[in-house]
């Protein structure tokens, strides 16, 4: 075995072992169980569906499916690329050793690909296995397509990361990569929403163009390869192999110089500002709210992680405005307030950086939790109020007021669920780990948000009493949250001696 390959495998094995241990740490065993259940449930549903199918679905549909999984893998690779290529603590060790830089880059790229492949596995595997057993064994080629697309995604992720770092430095590259990853991840959804966003006269043409793209040879190539067709599969293998080889060969020097410069570039800018706050805030609650808002607003990476959620909300907002009239802004108010409040409260609570300081202070636990909740609520509820203002100006002031109240109460419950069960996480890992936290509270938040939004939507569309009943149920849920979600002690990692 050549030194390059053996060194690559050595580093890759170490990377995968660390990733696996990080994944299994803490409460993640719950995450594993959930993924396991998701896989089982997915397989049952997929087998039921595919066994009833008499013939394969249209190739355009499969092409969209592969495009979706490919884009999600690309998004995952882009999200992880900067961290994996420039912020791992082991570079001092690796790059001062006689290991070839190409081996380090290749190992990191493969690790990136493995991460991207695992991201879609719980959703892709049931469909793939269902197709293999229900339709044709030829679909087994889908496994190869999955891995090839992951390799392509990793390769593109590396090119993007290295290019961005060279161009704008590590810190800004992280932010841009986050936004770009979110855009890529949402691009298929945004593409499908495009006809709804465009004026009516362009709508039909756009739909036809999208269908044409779906049926094109290149777009359908992964789907055809996954059906076991020789030429597309060979083309994909050649393309992925060429990309990986080219990236490893051509980018090693850029990678090394970028890593060497990373510490210089990553030094935080010395931004000038007002040293003394004009008004010294008194009182724990107000000081905490101000502190949290400052920390959030001054953290572009965090904002870059949060704002992409708007990618899914805003097209729906315009779409509603166009199709159902401005009345449907009322549920959008609820979703906006709840979704962002939940995220920002998680940032303020679980992402707290100074637990040692807080825990050894005489501050009251409940006051602090409520202050963090308020900090998470302020901006989203204000944003929701702005949407409400649009609705009020459009001639529906009562609906706007109701939307604001329901949004604020549902958001408060979502925020309460966050502050009653705080599990400290490093801020940079917050959204990576958030999905692995208390699943039950996450499900309750989504149920509350969806029922309140549905109630508002139904009421706004004219079915007032049905809407009121649904809203009543959702608000009972809110009350139940405040009544039954007890405050759990904060779980800190035990320090060693």
């Amino acid at each position: 075995m050549s030194p390059l390959v053996s060194q690559t495998l050595l580093i890759l094995r170490n990377d995968l072992r660390i990733n696996w241990r990080e994944f299994r740490s803490g409460r993640l065993s719950v995450g594993l169980i959930v993924i396991g259940l998701l896989l089982i449930l997915g397989h049952v549903i997929a087998f039921l569906v595919f066994l009833r199918l008499k013939q394969p679905p249209p190739i355009a549909l499969e092409a969209f499916g592969w495009a979706f999984f490919g884009l999600i893998m690309l998004s995952a690779a882009m999200t992880q690329s900067i961290g994996l290529l420039y912020e791992r603590a082991d570079f001092d060790l690796l790059l001062s050793s006689p290991v070839q830089p190409r081996a380090v880059l290749a190992a990191r790229m493969l690790s990136l690909g493995a991460g991207a492949a695992v991201t879609v596995a719980p959703f892709l595997l049931p469909v793939l296995n269902g197709a293999i057993f229900g339709l044709s064994p030829h679909y087994a080629a889908g496994y190869l397509v999955w891995l090839l697309l992951a390799a392509l995604a990793a390769s593109l992720g590396v090119w993007m990361a290295l290019g961005l770092v060279r161009w704008i430095g590590v810190r800004r590259a992280r932010i841009v990569a986050q936004v770009a990853a979110a855009l890529f991840g949402a691009s298929l959804y945004l593409g499908l929403q495009l006809p709804n966003l465009l004026p009516r006269e362009f709508k039909r043409g756009t739909s036809e163009r999208l269908q044409a793209v779906a049926g094109s040879v290149w777009f359908a190539a992964p789907a055809r390869a996954a059906r076991g067709e020789g030429v597309p599969l060979a083309t994909l293998i050649a393309l992925a192999g060429a990309c990986v080889a080219l990236t490893t060969r051509q980018m090693a020097r850029t990678f090394i110089s970028g890593t060497q410069d990373a510490t210089v570039v990553a030094a935080p800018s010395r931004r000038a500002g007002r040293g003394s706050p004009q008004r010294w805030t008194e009182g724990l609650a107000r000081a905490t709210v101000r502190k949290e808002i400052r920390l959030i607003l001054r953290d572009p990476l965090l904002i870059a992680q949060i704002l992409p959620s708007a990618l899914y909300i805003l097209p729906a907002l315009f779409s509603f405005g166009r199709q159902g009239g401005w009345l449907l802004l009322a549920p959008v108010m609820v979703v906006t307030a709840t979704q962002f409040s939940s995220m920002l409260t998680a940032v303020a609570a679980a992402g707290e950086e100074g637990w040692d300081l807080i825990r050894m202070s005489p501050a009251h636990d409940l006051t602090l939790r409520l202050a963090k909740m308020a900090a998470g609520l302020v901006v989203p509820v204000a944003f929701s109020a702005i949407i409400g203002l649009v609705l009020a100006i459009a001639g529906h002031p009562w609906l706007a007021l109701t939307g604001l109240l329901i949004g604020a109460s549902t958001a408060s419950a979502a925020a309460w669920l966050q502050v009653t069960d705080i599990e400290p996480v490093a801020r940079k890992d917050l959204f990576k780990r958030r999905a692995q936290r208390s699943k039950l509270r996450g499900v309750i938040t989504v149920l509350l948000m969806m029922s309140a939004a549905a109630g508002m939507g139904i009421a706004a569309q004219g079915s007032l009493w049905i809407g009121v009943v649904v809203l009543g149920v959702s608000q009972l849920g809110v009350i139940a949250c405040f009544t039954f979600a007890s405050i759990k002690p904060i779980h800190f990692e035990p320090s060693s001696a």
């Binding site: 040293g275 003394s276 008194e282 001054r298 040692d356 320090s495 001696a497």
Partner: protein
């Protein structure tokens, strides 16, 4: 064990620790620690790596829950009334985690609020501390741009802003250059002169030798020796010996291995 008679009976205590125990899994980090730290003194808490210094200090600061034992801060049991017990306390860890995105005054504003300090008292004190610690010129910069030494000074400013009477410092001189270290030592001496109590851990034995009124040496989670430098010399039979000699002798002595956990 080379311990001198406890000063508990004669002096008012800033901090009393009785029978403190803490285990991490099968590792017993602190094993029945007793301390009596009089007010208005600098107490150096020494020990080899992994002896249990940081664990002990974190338990005294209320950051770690002991498996057994009692911590009493200025007459208030930490387990019974943690809020009041923490009021006179300040703790600076060896690697303080400050809010990088905040500016110095904003950080001190938040710390003051944690200790419920009125703005009229907190703001001038914060400004004075920044001037004293040489951070006033940096007041417009975010803490993330500070060097390690400046961060250490920032943490000290945070610890002092609420006018504590008991400071727990874990390796406070780590990463400081000579002038910054001198500044911190002077600050701590002034603090003690004004009636405050300092408990510090350090690996720089000269600092402990020169500054500390009492010295405790911990090994394997137990107090292996305690007293003034002269008392330690006397008990170690090393008249004229340095603290380093005593420390090496004490920590080289075989200690009884901790009993297995139930």
């Amino acid at each position: 064990m080379f311990t001198s008679p406890s000063p508990e009976a004669s002096l008012p205590l800033a901090c009393a620790v009785r029978g403190l125990r803490k285990s991490f899994g099968l590792n017993r980090a602190v094993d029945g620690l007793d301390l009596a730290i009089p007010r208005g003194q600098l107490y150096a808490f020494l020990g080899p790596n992994g002896a249990g210094k940081t664990t002990s200090i974190r338990m005294i600061a209320g950051l770690l829950r002991p498996d057994a034992g009692q911590v009493v801060i200025q007459g208030i049991d930490l387990a019974v009334d943690p809020i009041e017990a923490k009021r006179p306390l300040a703790y600076v860890p060896d690697d303080p985690l400050l809010y990088g995105k905040l500016r110095p005054m904003e950080y001190l504003e938040f710390v003051s609020a944690l200790w419920s300090l009125p703005a009229a008292a907190a703001r001038p004190r914060a400004e004075e501390l920044l001037r004293t610690l040489g951070l006033w010129e940096k007041r417009d910069e975010r803490i993330e741009a500070f060097s390690r030494g400046m961060k250490q000074k920032m943490a000290l400013a945070g610890a002092l802003v609420h006018a504590p009477t008991l400071m727990l410092l874990d390796e406070p001189l780590t990463g400081l250059d000579a002038s910054a270290a001198r500044l911190v030592k002077d600050l701590l001496s002034d603090f003690v002169r004004q009636g405050g109590t300092v408990v510090l851990t350090t690996h720089i034995l000269e600092v402990a030798e020169r500054m500390a009124e009492r010295i405790g040496i911990i090994q394997a989670g137990r107090l292996a020796a305690e007293g003034t430098l002269d008392e330690l010399r006397e008990r170690a039979g090393q008249t004229g010996g340095t603290l380093e000699d005593i420390f090496l002798r004490v920590t080289a002595a075989p200690t009884e291995s901790p009993p297995p956990l139930p």
